[in-house]
Symmetry: C2
Amino acid sequence: MASNPKPDRKAYHHGDLRKALLDDAVKLLREEGEAGLSMRNLAARAGVSRTAAYHHFEGKHALLCAVAEEGFKRFGKVFYPPEMEGDDSLNEQRIQRFVQDYIKFATGNSEYYDLMFGSQLWKTEKLTETLTQEAYRTFRGYVDGIRGWQESGQISKNLDPLRYAQVSWSTLHGMSRLLIDGIYVDNQSRNAMCQAAADMLWRELNA
Amino acid sequence: MASNPKPDRKAYHHGDLRKALLDDAVKLLREEGEAGLSMRNLAARAGVSRTAAYHHFEGKHALLCAVAEEGFKRFGKVFYPPEMEGDDSLNEQRIQRFVQDYIKFATGNSEYYDLMFGSQLWKTEKLTETLTQEAYRTFRGYVDGIRGWQESGQISKNLDPLRYAQVSWSTLHGMSRLLIDGIYVDNQSRNAMCQAAADMLWRELNA
DNA sequence: AGTCAATCTTGACAATGTCAAAATAGCGAG
DNA sequence: CTCGCTATTTTGACATTGTCAAGATTGACT
């Protein structure tokens, strides 16, 4: 157990409180929503005292940043659109699947998505250094993917990759938010909406 | 002053506390953000005691619903896309202006927009009856506007008005959220983004 | 003037985030 | 192996918040 002496400073009294707190935080968000996640509630679940968490996170804000960071790591696999590896070429079905994957992640992991792209963290105080890096890496990867398609001649030369990235992401993000928050749109029309969005985004790629 | 005896039951001790609370609530949200808006803070501003507001709103939730409702009333003038009145015909510039107006309202009145289309109200408890009506009226107006364009032959017959409404609104909503929350996109690229979005939405109308 | 309901106040309670100081546990040096 | 240092955890405390219950006040109508 006590194999590494310095590299990670965990495994003391509790074992690995930091990880336990992060896991429980996500679980709590899933089960009871944002309202159910309190520092004290969290500590109680881990079987430690109210303020134990403050020695692993500067405060609630930092803890949420850490959760968001974990979210970005899971999200990366979806949002880097291409994994252009292989002879997998760009076509309409590819876009359709990408849209579906995005929406699936957002709605199926809303406890992460809300933090990653919600006002809660972005509006107020400063984000954690590591979170900022992870977040920017994600978006840059998306733009670079589109730029790559253009350079390899798979999409229109007239397109501005940055603008297309911003606008297409707006569509995906907006749809995710409407679905997650249950604003007007019901989950029944989810597939049809994805289809319509993919149609539009695909058409635009070749405009 | 005491002209109407029953129609509205206001103007008692304070004068018109309900209205004063609503106004101060918006002002507080603008100045200090969501965190600055507390029932007690609000009451203090109005010069009344902590719980006075509870005789005008069932609770904080109901108060926020009332703010959102006011937001919808102001928003209606923008979101009903057409005001098809006059010989004002549908063209690209019309769409451009609509996109700009939407984004302008969202970013310039984010204290309203956050409540109207944020998770805060939609996710949790039930919405106020009147708010629900106002909200649905707004969205229905949008879809009807698009349907009207189609019926008068101004846009493609192939389009499903509901789907187009959902997807185009997703784009507008997503862009608004990214701008309001300051996620990646900076306000510098606002106009360029609006232009790119308008291009895409216009193209799609005639696809 | 007196009754009654609308309005407002006071007192109270539980939850929350967070700080300061005390307590504890594990590791390395002697 | 023991001593001390530091990382970790606890306890106590405080301010803030939303909200309820009970009482006090105010204004309108008979």
